[in-house]
């Protein structure tokens, strides 16, 4: 089974998913991330899914789980780079990923974590 590498940039952990995810890989990633957040004291987690061509309910649930888990350890999670087709399918599937922050790309995701401007997102201002 492949494992998804976790990179550390400053106090942000970056997970860039480049493989076709199977359920075991997803579960392993959740565990690895929890370990790394604790070990590094990271303030944020970015999951880059630019290369992911499907997100089903299992993978979607992973995002939500990682988000709530990392929040408990005082780290914010941002999912970046979701493709339009994936987003449309997730909505159709009935998954809204409540509680998971999202950004268009890696750079914008870093900005979300780096300087949380209260006025950037509506509903929070």
């Amino acid at each position: 089974m492949d494992r998804v590498p976790i990179l550390k940039i400053g106090d942000v952990l970056l997970v860039s998913i480049q493989i076709d995810l199977q359920d075991q890989t997803v579960l392993a990633l959740q565990e690895d991330l929890a370990d790394r957040i604790v070990k590094t004291g990271a303030r944020g987690v970015i999951i880059d899914i630019t290369a992911v061509d499907i997100v089903d309910s299992f993978i979607g649930r992973m995002f939500a789980t990682i988000a709530s888990m990392s929040r408990l350890m005082d780290a914010e999670t941002v999912v970046v780079g979701m493709r339009p087709a994936v987003a449309i399918t997730l909505v159709e599937l009935g998954l809204s990923l409540g509680g998971v922050r999202t950004a268009l790309d890696l750079e914008k995701g870093m900005r979300v974590l780096g300087a949380p401007l209260p006025a950037v997102r509506p509903g929070t201002s």
Partner: protein, 135 residues
């Protein structure tokens, strides 16, 4: 290799990924739009996982089809010899789950496909057929 009418076993987590890849290949070859490809592949992923997790394994058949009006599409038939689904209405209800999942598997697959057929018998197994037509 032509990706038409192929049958795959579903006995491991890797097989779920293989089913996804096969459905993607058949849908792409049939000329389906990217969004619709993604929908049917996602439906396939949900169904294949159900088969592996709840049905104790089974198989998936993927075929490109043409309906009576000449419309082309992709059909996926997932079969297991598991315990069957005791309450179909419940299984198709959003958020209801027999295990630890979100309960989106069957209802989700049904919404993502254009046609959905569920055939189940207690103690004998379950067959789910989904079809997506090309717009």
């Amino acid at each position: 290799m032509t990706a038409q009418d192929v049958e795959l076993p579903i006995v491991s987590n890797e097989d779920v990924v293989r089913v996804r890849q096969l459905v993607r290949a058949v849908a792409a070859e049939a000329g389906m739009s990217l969004v619709d490809q993604t929908k049917i592949v996602t439906a396939a992923s949900e169904l294949a996982r159900n088969t592996f997790v709840h049905g104790g394994g089974g198989s998936a058949r993927v075929e490109s089809v043409v309906n009576a009006r000449g419309r082309a599409g992709v059909r996926l038939v997932v079969t297991d010899n598991g315990p069957g689904i005791p309450d179909i209405d419940k299984a198709l209800t959003e958020g209801w789950t027999s295990g630890s999942g979100l309960g989106l598997g069957l209802p989700g697959a049904r919404r993502l496909a254009d046609e959905f057929e569920l055939d189940t018998k207690a103690g004998e197994g379950t067959t789910v057929t989904v079809t997506k037509w090309i717009r």
